[in-house]
Symmetry: D2
Subunit: 139 residues, 4 copies
């Protein structure tokens, strides 16, 4: 299992007239969560696109909104990869507010797509090597 | 069952550098789908907020991305309410591109929340009366 | 002078907790205004990118916010090109609400950039030919 | 003169298919710049809304796009208040990329608006006291 966490503040332009973080803005928080998670592993997503020619389109998004997030709150985005990725990679997220409450849970499933050949491919080796240590079975 | 459809064009600012409509933008398309669906029924969502004091926070969002949407495509947003809403309302969506392909499927579940009493409530009567004819059992 | 107008509705996700259309959202309205203006002329912007290899980066944006726009308002975006474009093109916009009030005024200046040669170029001929009739001096 | 700087990363969802940070996203960067500037002064904008009942609508936005910003770049947002605010406050911004280039310059003018009385007011005293030391004339 690979875990990571980072923080992001709710901006005015991301709230709606209910005074909540708009429900469509969580996709961006999840993007930040998974991007910073793989950067921390040593593989900026930018590298995957620029050097490996691989993009990662999203196949599936699931979100449960437990409590609202409000303007100016500093949210903690928890990101977990529970299964070693092969053709797909699934990031699970929990968002925690300043009071320590889990306000949101969700998951994003992405694939690896080779731009030049226009085909879905397996996880790039360089990325798999960075991931692998987190999925070793305990003996 | 209540069905509705409307159209919306993909704008430059909604694409990402992959050249796709960004995965987080579908939440706005779904908002447009359900808003226009209930407006067509005779109940602008604005009326619910301003006159009834009811807001409709989103509880759950599920999206499956089947194919990308591209810049300037005129997308058709299909919206269906399959079950007569009581405490919750669930809108199911399909997005169809100009070639007639279903490129995206999803669903949004919302509740009814009375702002003044700060409580979840049942569907407002005025809204239920408009919905009811679409859920009569055939005899 | 070339004039065009189109309409666009304020969506929930575009409001902020003040209950106003967020000030950063006007750039998208202006994009819609200029895109529909040149589509009406017979030149979808998509064509310029895909067929002519020309993109149009924005150089300058000016906006004056006279009155707020509110949720669900159907705004009319007026777009005017006052001077025949050569190296630059300047779109001026006025946004009018449902009560007929001018609530917003602004302008966007863009250039023409040839992607392959990575150079700024003059307005593409095909586009200029469509524009030219609107800038003939009266005799 | 009051100066502040902070950093913000360009996210995938903020790029467009040109591969640039979308021109409408700079308004959010400027929001972040001015919010963090006044937080550093000791006055979170949230406090102004919640405790003083003052909101700050934007009256004017000017942006010059000198060079594009790209995905994943860590941008530095420089914020300056040059004149002591009275009825209006004007924030000037420069955005600098990782190579140290100024890629964007702009300014945002806002007013102070008292929600309850629905009137424009002078800068709240508490905010003015924090600002004042930065605008003392040198003797």
């Amino acid at each position: 299992m690979y875990r990571h966490q980072c923080q992001e503040r709710v901006r005015y332009g991301q709230t709606d007239q209910m005074g909540y973080l708009y429900y469509g803005q969580y996709a961006l928080l999840y993007e930040i969560g998974r991007t910073e998670a793989i950067r921390a592993l040593g593989m900026p997503y930018k590298y995957m696109e620029n050097e490996l020619g691989i993009v990662m389109p999203v196949l599936k998004l699931e979100i449960r909104y437990l409590k609202p997030a409000f303007y100016d709150e500093l949210l903690t985005i928890h990101t977990v990869v529970k299964e070693r990725p092969t053709k797909l990679i699934r990031f699970e997220h929990e968002i925690v507010n300043e009071s320590g409450e889990v306000i949101n849970r969700g998951a994003v499933t992405l694939c690896f797509y080779h731009v030049q050949t226009q085909r879905m491919v397996r996880i790039p080796e360089a990325f798999d090597r960075l991931m692998e240590p987190y999925f070793r079975e305990r003996e």
